[in-house]
Amino acid sequence: MMFDYSGLYQFLYSVSSWLLWEVGRILGFIGIDSGNILYPIRQFLVDPQFVYFVALLLTALIYLVAALLFGIQFIWMERKFLGRFMDRRGTSVGFLGFFQNFADAFKVLLKAVITPKDADKRVYQFAIFAILAVSFMLLGLVPWDINWYAVNVPLALLLGLAVFSLAPFALILAGWSSNNKYTLIGGIRGAAQLIAYEVPLLLVVVSVIVMTGTLNFNEMVAWQQGNIILFIPLFIGALTFFIAGVAESERVPFDLPEAEAELVEGWQTEYGSLGWGLVMCADYLRAFIICALFSILFLGGWTGPTFLPGSVWMLAKAALVFFFMIWVRAAMVRIRTDQLLKFCWNRLLPLAVINLAVAVLIKIYAVGGW
């Protein structure tokens, strides 16, 4: 039996079609043929549409589990590194403290679900799904290796950033529907921050597109493999992308939407139990996606010495970027909303524009034959 290894979805499709075909054969073997009352079920199982549906479901399931595991893994990484930065040991339950987060995840799973009495219940519950959906969807768009992705759309980068920019709506909905002053302020702050920081982020991405001439992640990495990793010519852009990425993932020093000193927990205040746990996980997942994007756009993605598989290089590079995010968090204090927006418009935007000009000039004069 030959499976299609060209991608996760393709692989799962070939596996499930083979599996269902075998099930159909077994059903035929035990005597379920035309005329039997169970024959329509057999027909249904081997229907290409059903196979397609099963493959899609399996892909989604694998990505959901992977997303949760990534989230938990990055929380662990942050706890350990932050501990070392703060002159302590960090979590230490289980092997290197790795089981602490699983214990925490099961703890929030078992907590009672409490919805505030005056909350707009449908929107309140919808908002959490919206946040989770737009965060988990991103994971499917990012390729991990040359043939390791859920979907390979030609405009993957554009689609990814479009999905990323849906989050502010969910934040406002969550903040508004909880019917609490803190969540309202947190939600509006969050939306303002995410929208503002998308501008420099997108401008930097445009410079990468100018350099590589493509919107597809695979081709971007292939370009960097053939020429040079973009971190070197677009150093300013990489820095801008990193700072804007920290803001987009709502981390210190830009964690104003959940500034716990004045806003308790920001827009997440009224979410408890599993809802809060999943939002927390989605937060880390978004930070991780930013790191993965950074490594694809500027560090050459999965390229690296061949003694390790490409996906390991990809994860290692993303983890390295995340390490810098943790470092920033350990060294910085939270800044204020107006300072945050001023910083974005007065500092990051000019830097992004300069970076774009650099990219265009390199392209015009074909520096280094790029």
């Binding site: 002159d87 020093p253 500034a259 000193a261 004045e262 308790v264 204090v333 939270r334 204020r336």
Partner: protein, 361 residues
């Protein structure tokens, strides 16, 4: 956006203790503020009226968990004045040294709280780590971590344990090194920290004096006044030290005053160990106080704390009035908060160093 009142408290991550700051917001801007205290009122002043003078010492420790020693000190000071007890030289020096250790521990606790207010757990954990050194010293001396029950009417409970001087000086050296190195890099040189603390929570010199703000908060507003120098008690007149005054009057100035005061406290501790001589640490004090009144005020880590005691010839005080520095300072909260952003409130009230135990008594 319409204006709205937001209750920041009594259960809110920003207030350290049980108090409530009601703020009126226009968008994110604070246009009115009103502190509400009293959630932790225990009737302390009434409680002590039915206790012996000796029984009140451990209770006065409970006035503030951050600086228990200074509160029992101001209490025994007032009663000693009432009973006209002369404290031995060595006990006075021990008081100076232990109070300065307590001041260091209290300021480090404040620094930790400011760290969490501003969202930096690194500051919190570094300050807590250093505070532990001084709590260990006081544990070694008194046997307790927080509420020491160490001061006695007529002296202190016991003399220094073995090697106390060596350990204290080592801890002081370490803290001095870290304040000048690590802390300076982490906070003074950190532009994000300065963005958050500079140019907010401005309290003018006139306002600070008129509202009765005392201590580091007042010295941050360019008022050159320190009870340790201007009305010396114990042996402070024999110690040569600097009074830290900052001109700016904002949150950063209050932060700087406290950081410099820690260095000054280290200096005082060193001088104290040089000048302390052997001798008794306690004299026998009468159990009853004469009819009369006395007051005693000291420079608490938070400001001027004062106790006014009325004796009626029995072994219990007729009345004991406590002047708490933060109870007075919190009335300046509207002055400091109005006109700034909501996000500034933790930075402003954090640098004020709230302690609700003494505020509500």
């Amino acid at each position: 956006m319409t204006e709205m009142w937001v209750n920041m408290g009594p259960q809110h991550p920003f207030n350290h203790g049980l108090w409530n700051l009601r703020v009126k917001l226009d968008g994110e801007k604070v246009i009115d503020a009103e502190p509400v205290v009293g959630y932790l009122h225990r009737g302390w002043e009434k409680m002590v009226e039915s206790r012996d003078y000796q029984q009140i010492i451990p209770m006065s420790d409970r006035l503030c968990y951050c600086s228990a020693l200074t509160w029992s000190h101001v209490y025994v000071g007032a009663v000693e004045k009432l009973m006209e007890v002369e404290v031995p030289e060595r006990a006075q020096w021990i008081r100076v040294i232990t109070i300065e250790i307590q001041r260091l521990a209290s300021h480090l606790m404040w620094l930790a709280a400011v760290g969490t207010d501003l969202g930096s757990y690194t500051i919190f954990l570094y300050a807590m780590r250093e505070r532990e050194l001084f709590l260990d010293l006081l544990t070694n001396l008194t046997g307790a971590r927080m509420t020491y029950n160490y001061m006695r009417i007529g002296g202190v409970r016991n003399d220094f344990p073995e090697n106390f001087e060596r350990d204290t000086l080592r801890a002081c050296d370490l803290l001095e090194k870290r304040i000048k190195g690590e802390y300076y890099q982490l906070m003074d040189m950190n532009s994000a920290f300065r963005l958050r603390t500079e140019n907010n929570g401005y309290l003018s010199k006139e306002d600070a004096m008129n509202l009765g703000v005392t201590g580091p908060n007042m010295r941050g507003s360019n008022v050159d006044f320190d009870l340790r120098r201007d009305d010396p008690y114990e042996k402070y007149d024999e110690v040569d030290f600097e009074v830290c005054v900052e001109e700016a009057g904002d949150s950063f100035a209050r932060y700087r005053v406290r950081m410099r005061e820690m260095l000054v406290s280290i200096d005082i501790i060193r001088q104290g160990f040089q000048k302390i001589r052997a001798g008794p640490v306690r004299v026998k004090a009468p159990r009853t106080a004469p009819v009369g009144t006395a007051f005693y005020h000291v420079e608490d880590p938070r400001g001027e704390s004062l106790m006014y005691v009325i004796g009626d010839g029995t072994n219990q005080p007729y009345r004991l009035k406590v002047r708490s520095p933060i109870f007075v300072t919190v009335s300046a909260a509207p002055k400091m908060c109005i006109g700034y952003k909501m996000a500034d409130i933790p930075a402003i009230m954090g640098t004020v160093d709230m302690c609700v135990g003494e505020t509500d008594r």
